[in-house]
Symmetry: D2
Subunit: 99 residues, 4 copies
């Protein structure tokens, strides 16, 4: 069943938000193609490229967050403890990715 | 005139290739949204997110390459020298971005 | 006791290797300062800077690996399962950090 | 002569500042080895690893800045124009590296 399947992958709660965010990124990429087609200034195009990369990182950290929480609670950790450990871990990965 | 305008931004020669590449990335992002919607395994989704980031880096390095070549030749450097200096510089930026 | 303390942070098994690696990175950074002092070519210096960043990423992924394994087994997951889930997760983080 | 050599690599003006910064980073890396040796909490160690990576990026952007300015003025661009174009370019690279 889909419900079960979803919960087993751990990103159900934020699924809609994730898809929305990805639609927005899709639009950003289309916008960059348009900028290139219109011969917009290279530095401005690069700014949009960096914005897409940053947005993809947010998507990735959201996915990781749900996955890790899921792994930990599946492993038997209580919810509160799993949430705390995950938040700490994701914070560390975020600093690592952005540096 | 468009021709002139294009050359002034320095990415004319590879414009078609860039737009093609961006169309492909747009499709990749759409594919990721579909994966999320179908509750595909988080780690597989993350792999696609990383692929999009790497593809955006290639776009950025291509844009930078044309921009820097253009800046240098506009500054009066001869073409061969500008190409060499640019290749060296872009190599350094690539290593920096990917590390 | 140190033994207990160490195991509670989860990087005991690879502690010596990590410290060795960090000593090597310290030497690399000192080497970069020397290159700058000797007016070595900028692009060569940049290559060493990228090498240090890549080496720091390896340190980080090693630390993360031990931490996540520890969190999962502490949460009650059996060792084999925790190792597998961690390897998968660290692979995803590596691709994310390097892209 | 050193003077000539230095100017030919383009980072003379900020040489002392760069070396100072690298000495500080060397100390940070030594501090991380000490943290590992003292079994400090993994997440805190990771934070220092990210700080070193960010500091290395600043070093790299400083080197790039001087190199690009040098390439452009060597190519015949006037100083003011070269400085502007370089600042713009380095800004773009910074956004790219940090995202």
């Amino acid at each position: 069943m889909i419900e079960t399947d979803t919960s087993s992958h751990g990103y159900a709660p934020q699924k809609d938000q994730l898809i929305k965010r990805l639609r927005r990124i899709e639009g950003q990429v289309r916008g960059i193609a348009k900028m290139v087609d219109e011969d917009r200034y290279c530095i401005d195009v690069l700014q949009q490229v960096s914005a897409v990369k940053a947005a993809m990182d947010k998507v990735a950290l959201g996915l990781l967050n749900d996955h890790v929480t899921h792994c930990m609670t599946a492993g038997g950790a209580d919810d509160e403890r799993a949430r705390e450990a995950t938040a700490e871990l994701i914070g560390a990965v975020r600093r690592l990715v952005r540096s």
